[in-house]
Symmetry: C2
Subunit: 370 residues, 2 copies
């Protein structure tokens, strides 16, 4: 991959002072800046198809209390995965790309950026790929199994049985997503549009992933989706960074390529047999800059530690004959990229490098479009 | 509006036997039929723009426990509203339509139907209108304030303080959404694609609307969205059927027209002053058939009772000089339409009637596109 130089823009810390001032009160109305900031592309987007559907899911029989006491007990569907898709005109024979979001977030991560620029979902479509954006099982439009919360409310289950719902505070996002070491103090070369940090804050939803059965149903749903698509590139981010690996182990033939964007983990627990299976699939791991920054969460290691775990996994895959490689500042020359690399100011340049990798390592054609 | 005859299709109850058989066990894998059933339109969809953004939201300062004990306390954003949008090429000067979903559902209601046909979101775009589809505050990609649930888990708040999370059982959906009087027994003229009832089931998410402050922040978010759009038609469904009325009262100039699809309520509590304000906005109320069916929820009245409340409101609006009218089987001749009228088999014919009403009663042009 060709290294590219990036002209660093030195961003003033003053620029975000106004944004952070809004954080001081307990309930301060956030200025709705989003609609007016939306950018319109120069050329229309021509779609053969778009829409949404679900993958997976199972029936759960629940009591009146578990259903919220609005009516009698009965069955609902749980553990299904919502997927929104766009197929470009003329691109339905190209390999589809599935983009999975991270912790406390939804598929929104891949749509319009917090400062109103085109998201990777549309950009990959414009580059000819059908794009499928799920909400992880348990999040957003995929919903979650509410039974235990209603049982706790009714007193029939101890309160400790309901799982914690995670959110990252705005203050923690700055070091953990590596916009800067402290809230309101961006790295001079930060690629994240920090003036729109309040818009990113709105993307946060409660993360009830501890509610989910083991293994996480999203793994199977992703492998099924890839199978139904007759092959797909699976892209994960952060919490879901390792999900493409898990889906590929369930159905390696359908995983045409894996892109792990700032993965929260590259497991060191895979057996040699699993590594041999994963070595049949081209794998790209993408990391940003400033990875040594303490995350602000004592429970979470630095991103450098995860980066190193991924380097170890890449080495194992290569020894097993796999095509696996790292895309980080050392390879690209880009500096200042954050954890939210798909929303960074140079996000389309990063996307181009991933698209080049797909072109080089993944068969662009698949047998028969949808 | 011109009355149209509808040729009744007599649907066999046997057809859904297989679907309902899956409901008997406690955890039965639902057949993933959705992707293969997706229908592709004959002509491409040409968009000037598409993407997503948020409206509203406020900062909430929370403790470590309230944030799920992953890191220290801090601020998050709550009560924001996610909005996905599509603007047709050449249609950005036309009046936008905002489509809001009902209880236990998300914006998915307006997307691809459970049996894979084009949703109203795309159809209205193809008819020239920019379309904006929110997730109500507290639902789907809009998230909700998880603080009380984490407090209850930690034992610092009584369990009864956390609100119930509602879901409709599959069994209750049949009479309440008026597919048939009993599960698995559709009305002979039912317009709902009952063979895809299991796909509708997947659209359900926990409804935590009792968690929300009063008034519901979605009202203000909708009025702000209409204002930012320089005028819009606001469409609500079921639980949100009255939301367009509330948004119009906050900003009547921005509410170019209101479409209340099977509204859960047409309030009888509006003052004469409020009715006078609402009489300045064209209002269409849309109802389906079989409204006398008991809902299967003793807490909820029949849809006929809501229909009659809406007739009363329409009469009040007319006496105040307003343009308000009912669109129901009595006016259209269509029989068998369900509560999920935007997913019914004749959904595009119903959409056409609404589009005709918009053309006749709402200024199609607005001052300046986005």
């Amino acid at each position: 991959m060709k290294a590219q130089r990036f002209s660093m823009g030195c961003r003033s810390a003053l620029l975000v002072g106004a944004t952070l001032a809004g954080v001081l009160g307990t309930t301060v109305t956030v200025r709705a800046q989003a609609l007016k900031d939306l950018q319109t592309p120069d050329t229309p987007l021509v779609l053969k198809a778009q829409g949404s559907f679900y993958v997976g899911g199972e029936k759960s029989e629940q009591t009146e209390v578990q259903l919220g006491s609005l009516g009698p007990g009965g069955h609902i569907t749980v553990n299904q995965m919502y997927v929104r898709y766009m197929v470009p005109q003329g691109g339905d024979g190209n390999v589809p790309v599935v983009m999975v979001h991270g912790a406390t977030l939804t598929g929104k991560s891949w749509e319009t950026t917090p400062d109103g620029r085109m998201g990777w979902d549309e950009y990959f479509v414009r580059k000819g790929h059908p794009v499928y954006v799920p909400d992880q099982v348990g999040r957003g439009r995929s919903g979650f199994n509410q039974a235990v919360f209603n049982n706790v409310r009714a007193g029939t289950t101890p309160a400790g049985d309901q799982p914690a719902m995670f959110r990252f505070s705005d203050e923690v996002v700055w070091p953990n997503f590596r916009f800067g070491s402290k809230p309101g103090e961006p790295f001079p070369d930060s690629q994240f549009p920090v003036q729109a940090a309040d818009e990113l804050s709105k993307q946060g939803v409660p993360d009830v992933s501890r509610l989910l059965p083991t293994p996480n149903p999203t793994f199977k749903a992703l492998s099924e989706l890839a199978g139904q698509l007759k092959g797909a590139v699976l892209m994960g981010h952060s919490q879901s960074g390792s999900f493409p690996l898990e889906a590929a182990l369930l159905n390696p033939a359908a995983a045409k390529g894996l892109v792990l964007v700032e993965p929260g983990r590259c497991p060191d627990t895979y057996s040699e047999e699993q590594i041999t299976t994963l070595a049949t699939v081209p794998i790209l791991v993408v990391f940003g800059d400033h990875r040594d920054t303490p995350t602000g969460l004592t429970t979470l290691p630095t991103w450098q530690a995860r980066f190193e775990a991924c380097q170890t996994m890449i080495s194992r895959l290569k020894r097993a004959g796999g095509q696996a490689q790292m895309l980080s500042p050392a390879e690209t020359g880009f500096r200042g990229n954050s954890h939210m690399i798909m929303q960074d100011k140079n996000h389309l340049q990063i996307a181009d490098l991933i698209l080049q990798w797909i072109d080089a390592h993944v068969s662009k054609q698949r047998v028969g479009g949808r």
